[in-house]
Symmetry: C2
Subunit: 399 residues, 2 copies
């Protein structure tokens, strides 16, 4: 008989190991799993994560429990494995019992190796890795979750992908982005056009060359993902360029550590020039997290505002910026390819720099449609697809 266990979320957890032994230690509970692994969960961590109906609203799966409701030194009086294989804990407060599904505990174990295993791999690339980004079929992505999953894993890993066979309609790009999440509206609108215009509001809508850049570095929140869908490409010139900004950052760190330090610590300023909005932001060109890992780049030649840093920093910022720019032009770092109608590139707008060569549209137009969404929409969609896979696996096993 399988007992119903309350879980703290809507996910499905598949038990691949069982709990062989439980020991209450001072400060934590130690579990030994059937594969020999050991998990240690602090007393307060377990109490905080109690999934019972008093602690978690069973409709929303959101906590009602507040930490301040229990003493800081709360600890188990007893802990053991139930008939269903769950961990049961009776608390020192005397009025509460918690029961944790074994598979949920295993999935949330925070020993070092388990934490490392949860980090998604990101692989940098250049023109020696491939000549075009990893390419997938747009119709399959629209119709099939397995194809969607394969594409999105590549997008998360490499930060640049291409779809082909995307229907050449004005709204198809919204359908593609909608497979991931909510399209982000900006001052360009929801879905927008890239083509040469007589009265452009941005250099993107001229026939000028565009140096490798991200879109909207002028915004505090640079869009996480960008989509560009080619509807027509009869122009002469206008080759597309993609450069892995994380690769440039790696090279900068290895070849020019002094410039790397400058670019990760001293902010450049960015400004959109417009008659209706005046977005500005300041940020280092290379953004790292607390562990020193590069998380985003912010660069766009024609969206730079006047540099606004202490006088003594100006020369080193310009020197570092110049080297960054030179690197972004290195042929061995640039993918250069030509859009065919129906092609769509989807890339991490805070990692993969995009650009184009100059073009002339006298003989025929170059017309792209574009839109944005966010990185965490991508991660949410991948988790939802994986959740569905687990649910189906459990259903198929007849559990």
């Amino acid at each position: 008989m399988v007992e119903e266990v309350t879980t703290p979320d809507f996910d499905t957890y598949i038990a691949e190991q069982s709990i062989d032994a439980v020991e209450i230690c001072p400060g934590w509970v130690e579990l030994i799993w059937s594969d020999g692994q050991i998990s240690r969960f602090h007393h307060i961590w377990l109490r905080d994560n109690c999934p019972c109906a008093d602690c978690v609203h069973q409709g929303t799966k959101e906590q009602m429990f507040e930490l301040v409701a229990v003493p800081a030194d709360i600890h188990p009086l007893r802990a053991g494995v139930t008939a269903a294989g769950s961990l049961a804990v009776n608390w020192s407060s005397g009025d509460h019992t918690s029961e944790f599904e074994a598979a949920w505990l295993r999935a949330n174990c925070y020993r070092d190796q388990a934490r490392r295993d949860r980090v998604h791999q990101q692989i940098t690339w250049d023109a020696n890795t491939w000549s075009v980004p990893p390419t997938f079929d747009g119709l399959a992505v629209l119709a099939d979750d397995a194809a969607l999953y394969e594409w999105l894993i590549a997008l998360r890993t490499y930060g640049a992908t291409r779809l082909r066979n995307v229907p050449c309609t004005d709204i198809a790009i919204g359908d593609i982005a909608g497979r991931i999440g909510i399209v982000r509206e900006t001052n360009f609108g929801v879905l927008w056009d890239v083509w040469s215009e007589p009265n452009p509001v941005t250099n993107a809508n001229t026939a000028l060359p565009l140096p490798p850049h991200v879109d909207l570095p002028t915004r505090e929140y640079q869009p996480g993902l960008q989509f560009l869908h080619c509807l027509e490409n009869e122009a002469i010139g206008g080759d597309s360029i993609l450069v892995d900004g994380f690769r440039i950052a790696e090279l900068m760190r290895d070849e020019h550590p002094e410039h790397y330090l400058t670019l990760t610590t001293v902010p450049w300023s960015w400004a959109n020039r417009a008659t209706t909005t005046d977005y500005r932001w300041r940020s280092p060109l290379i953004v790292t997290n607390g562990d020193g890992v590069v998380t985003e780049v912010r660069v766009g030649n024609w969206l730079r505002a006047p540099l606004d840093v202490p006088f003594d920093d100006v020369e080193r910022v310009y020197a570092a910026y110049r080297v960054w720019f030179e690197m972004s032009y290195r042929p061995e770092l640039q993918l250069r390819f030509r859009f065919q109608p129906g092609d769509l590139i989807a890339f991490d707008n805070r990692r993969a720099l995009h650009g184009r060569s100059e073009f002339t549209d006298v003989g025929g137009r170059r017309h792209l449609r574009g839109c944005y969404t966010e990185r965490d929409e991508l991660h949410s969609r991948l988790r939802m697809l994986e959740r569905d896979m687990r649910r189906r696996a459990v259903a198929a096993a007849g559990i």
Copy 2:
């Protein structure tokens, strides 16, 4: 005769001082202003900011100039003041002259004091400062740019404001937010309801008390601004709570520096529990910039995921988190007030924590409408309003 000077943006600059003297120094150009102030602009900075039609697209005001097009040691051959009072520079490349409007130079001077003067003041508050947030008239804000400006300055300074007399319609909140910028769509939709529902997808839509929190700490990009508009409030209970998260951070830094260090460096994890999305994010509860200034807080009791940090960090994170929570409940930090229909609170969602007491709606409903936009929409709108003021001032002066 006033000569037309090309400027690098669409703004209007008002000349309050003129350039009295120009000196070419090694590395920079020194200007002495009519009020005795001195500005120093590096050679490369000036060349980079040349506003001429070869360097800046005159339709978009975006740069075409690229730094790599000139040598790093470019420098002026001559520099002087034109008849119109601008700075003119002839460059060592021999093929280029730049002309800079004096007022633009003054506005972009990067001496230390000028840079400090450009920082917007943010003032923290608590229940001794006032009993309700600074309050403005909603109809005036909708109709009049001067009223809008006054409100937005308060919103930027204090991160919490109230409007009264906002029309009690479903869309009025979108009209108010639209006075600032683009409303951000999330998994809750564009405009959404807060009321007690039989099958809620979030604890917000129960009658439960809500501890002081920000919305969507589960998202990489927490919404910068939140609006809550009361359409009905016949319920018993359901008082509104606002706490200045930056004030808590100040107290934490002063009273518990060890906890402050933990909360600014060790990430908590956040997760939305839902059947359609699975957003998660990890971030320190208090986020500081490179200068150690608090820029945002991230806290929401019922949106916490299981803590996922190295084993040895768990106890200190829980200890610090407990103190944060206790502080957010201190009566002297909490504004507590009751919504009247037509009231709207607008607050910095990454600074001002909001919450409510438990309520019962047996005798009548409590119904709020809500939406989000971003901090940089606020800053853009303020700049645009100030730009309009300058343009009108110049027009009024008949210049």
